[in-house]
Amino acid sequence: MSGTGGTPYAPHTESETAAMLSAIGVDDEEALFDIPEAVAFDGEFGIEPRSEREIRAECSRIFARNDDLTEFLGRGHYGHYVPSVVDHLADRAEFLTSYTQYQPEISQGFLQALFEYQSMLVELTGLPVANCSMYDAATALGEAATLADRVRSTSGDTVLVPGHLREGKGEVLSNYCAGADLRVESYPMDDGNVDVDALAERVGDDTVMVYAENPTVRGCVEERLAEIGDLAADADALFALGSDPVSLAVLEEPAGVGADVVVGEAGALGLPTADGMGLGLFACRDDFLRQVPGRLVGAGEDAAGDRAFTLTLQTREQHIRKERATSNICTNQAWVALRAAIHAAALGPDGLVDLANDCVREAAALADRIDELKGAIAPVHDRHHVREFAVRVDQPAAAIAADLEAEGFAVHAIGEHLLQVCVTDLNAGRTDGLVAAFEEVI
């Protein structure tokens, strides 16, 4: 660092800086900048540099201002216990501080890890192609809609989405659809599942894509997925199914019910609750291979004839195809995909299936207990649930949620008299407290 006040992350001594300036043939660093005076900045940001220790102390003070709550929250962002091995391996600097694998010969490690991640998703979805990440479930859904628009043989402009859909997800989808002149329309639900008869009446020539979720945003397991797949196929529309890799360990395989594309939140593995940070799952049928958004890792051979991995089919991507690319995505969530893969490996199929089954059992057990309380009905929908379920309360839901928060528990208020509760391995040990608090405030 050159004297005081410089960046601590540049190694230059004053004499080195002087020698370098002299080699270039200028007197000082300022002479290297070609910024006209009229637009030069001579003010201050007013940001005082601080030591590591001060910043760590400051941030930990700031974060301590988050209330100490036990969260029973889900609706698309899920916390499961992440084994220590995930942090320790993914945090290896060779992974964490590497860039996109544009020189595959010295990036074999990350490429193989991503290839393995893709393979795990292929097994979980039953679809032959999975990319190595989108940003999150919502943006993956947006990409699915624009893919549907590109591959559908006949014209049409409508993307059909379930009546029960996370509000923000619908907004993201609409933003992706706007540029492709697609419109988003929601179809009705029937007791927490897709109203298949109503959907049958709605699907038509104008339908580009039918989207459904399993489990739904309210945690319900869909019971007539194959029929939805048939409806979409008959209309030459794509069937996009939303899910996550934990649920997929036990639920019907998407390929088996006719899903053309699977999107969702793969960050259910690998990531702790991270204030909404995610990992977009994207898998699809073979025939869409050249229309897939995002990066794909493929196996190939090197000059010695040995198996080697490389980013592949890059002519789909923005750095080559520019405005004709399948998406503008460049930076993705590769490191989160690595974490998800390590987590899946650490669980193995047994652990993954056990985790998913626990999420089914715990949700049912907690719903039963809440249902016993006067003034509450749970689950609202007569369906099987994964992790979460809706609760109908006699009193205003917002007031109950606020009262529960005061008792140290966070739940969703999703309607005037509707709450939603999510239970996973992380908070299953705190359900006694939640039920007692419920009893108190209801």
Binding site: P11, H77, T273, T331, V336, G348, L352
Partner: protein
């Protein structure tokens, strides 16, 4: 100056780490244990079930077959591979910050405060009036910014159909404009490598929604005519978009907001040294001037009246959300920590040292650099050599090569950005790697690389016969 790259370097025999699926495949009968009825479950699930020691060795060995900024020089032009300070990881790992995004604002005061502070930092640094942290990457920031511009035009009853983009721009700019539903008007580069003001005047008109500009541009040149450029675009009723990929060169010396830009994105994984993670996650916050603030994604964070804590709010004409939740939270925390660590002087010094390093390295290499004066990066030309081959040979000399064959305005381009983190001796090594590779024989270049985990990979063949999973390799 030859460095060994990894313990698994080729020594004439095939040394590779088997796939997880080649180590173990375990099939579980799902229906046996499931509390769900059979017709709602899958039959079985087949995945590897390695033990924890096997997992540790597998991923450790994979990590050893991977180049990273902590391994050595990584001078990829336009990618800004800075050292990622370790303490930022510890700050982001604070368990108190690991909250669910659907908590009430009242119960999330800590995270809201950090978001607010970061918005303020970024606003100052870019000269912008309002900032959203929601976009999860640079390209997502572009999409957000252009969607905001579109909403602004529509709100004012202007139906504009075109986005103007210089030929030298990042591919994401073109793809973003198309995704947002605009026609792309490509602006050829002027003779000096910058925007040709006359060509811009001819290209801009009533249909122009925005000009997307990177400044300094992708060969490191500052757009000296930026004031005139801004006037031309604004006079036509268009907006000026700043691609923040090269903001690292301007820190403390120039702010997009002062140059007439209306909307910009920040690449925090470039400018503010958050780790690239093998391709992501990054974050692409977007800053706008006052006139555009009401269109930003919801929710935004602000101080409560009286300075009593923080709250979220929905901008009046919001475009809605661009990410399912609040973006890449962990990355945003690291961004805050980095900016706080450097402060005003550190940020300005980071820019100065980045520009010093690029100029010093360019001085040291035998390749021509056609355009200048450049700032934090330069595009050397490999002349009659193939830039990609020179790059492969550089791998043998223990460095990561620059970005090759882009931008196209420089023939056989080697776009080089050493960043501020290399010292003089490291830059001398890097220059030697350039010069040795550039001067090497055609045979040596064709045969390169020789000291890497894999020999030259045939990417064309891999694309012709796509095998994208271990399932696809079965039976071969």
């Amino acid at each position: 100056m030859i460095h060994d790259q990894a313990d698994y370097a080729r020594e004439g025999e095939d040394v590779h780490e088997p796939l997880l699926s080649e180590k173990d495949e375990t099939t579980v009968d799902v229906r046996e244990e499931s509390p769900l009825p059979d017709d709602l479950t899958r039959d079985e699930l087949t995945l590897p079930a390695p033990s924890e020691p096997e997992i540790a060795r597998h991923y450790t060995r994979l990590s050893q077959m991977n180049w990273a900024i902590d391994s050595g020089p990584y001078p990829l032009g336009s990618c800004t591979m800075k050292y990622n300070p370790k303490f930022t990881e510890d700050v982001a790992a604070d368990p108190n910050a690991a909250i669910h995004p659907d908590r009430s604002a009242r119960a999330s005061q800590g995270n809201l405060e950090l978001r607010y502070r970061l918005q303020e930092f970024l606003g100052e640094i870019g000269g912008m009036d309002a900032v959203t942290l929601q976009p999860p990457a640079g390209a997502a920031g572009e999409f957000t910014g252009i969607a905001v511009a579109k909403a602004y035009h529509e709100h004012h009853g202007n139906d504009r159909s075109e986005v103007v983009i210089p030929a030298s721009a990042h591919g994401t700019n073109f793809a973003t404009a198309a995704m947002a539903g605009y026609d792309v008007v490509e602006l050829p580069s002027g003779e000096d490598g910058r925007v040709d003001v006359e060509a811009l005047e001819a290209a801009v008109g009533d249909d122009t929604a925005a000009l997307m500009l990177t400044n300094p541009n992708t060969v490191g040149l500052f757009e000296r005519d930026i004031t005139e450029i801004a006037d031309i675009v604004h006079d036509a009723g268009g907006l000026l978009y700043y691609d923040g990929a090269n903001l690292n060169a301007l820190l403390g010396r120039g702010r997009p907001g002062d140059m007439g830009f209306d909307v910009m994105h920040y690449n925090v994984h470039k400018t503010f040294a958050t780790p690239h993670g093998g391709g992501g996650p990054g974050a692409g916050p977007v800053g706008v001037v006052d006139e555009l603030a009401e269109f930003l994604p919801a929710p935004q964070v602000r101080e409560r009246e009286g300075g009593n804590g923080y709250e979220t709010f929905e901008p009046e004409e919001t475009i809605g959300k661009v990410h399912g939740f609040g973006g890449n939270w962990l990355v945003l925390v690291k961004t805050y920590a980095y900016i706080a660590r450097l402060g005003d002087d550190g940020l300005a010094d980071a820019a100065a040292k980045a520009v010093l390093n690029a100029n010093y390295l360019a001085e040291r290499i035998d390749l021509d650099v056609p355009y200048g004066p450049f700032h934090h990066e330069f595009a050397a030309t490999a002349g009659d050599r193939d830039a990609a081959d020179v790059a492969k040979r550089m791998l043998d000399f223990g460095v990561h090569p620059p970005t090759t064959k882009w931008p196209e305005m420089v023939p056989e381009a080697m776009l080089t950005e050493p960043t501020e983190i290399e010292g003089q001796s490291s830059l001398d090594d890097l220059a030697e790697a350039f010069n040795l590779a550039y001067a090497d024989s055609d045979e040596a270049l064709d045969a390169a690389p020789n000291r890497t985990t894999a020999a030259r990979i045939d990417q064309v063949a891999a694309a012709r016969n796509p095998r994208l999973s271990w399932q696809a390799l079965d039976g071969e």
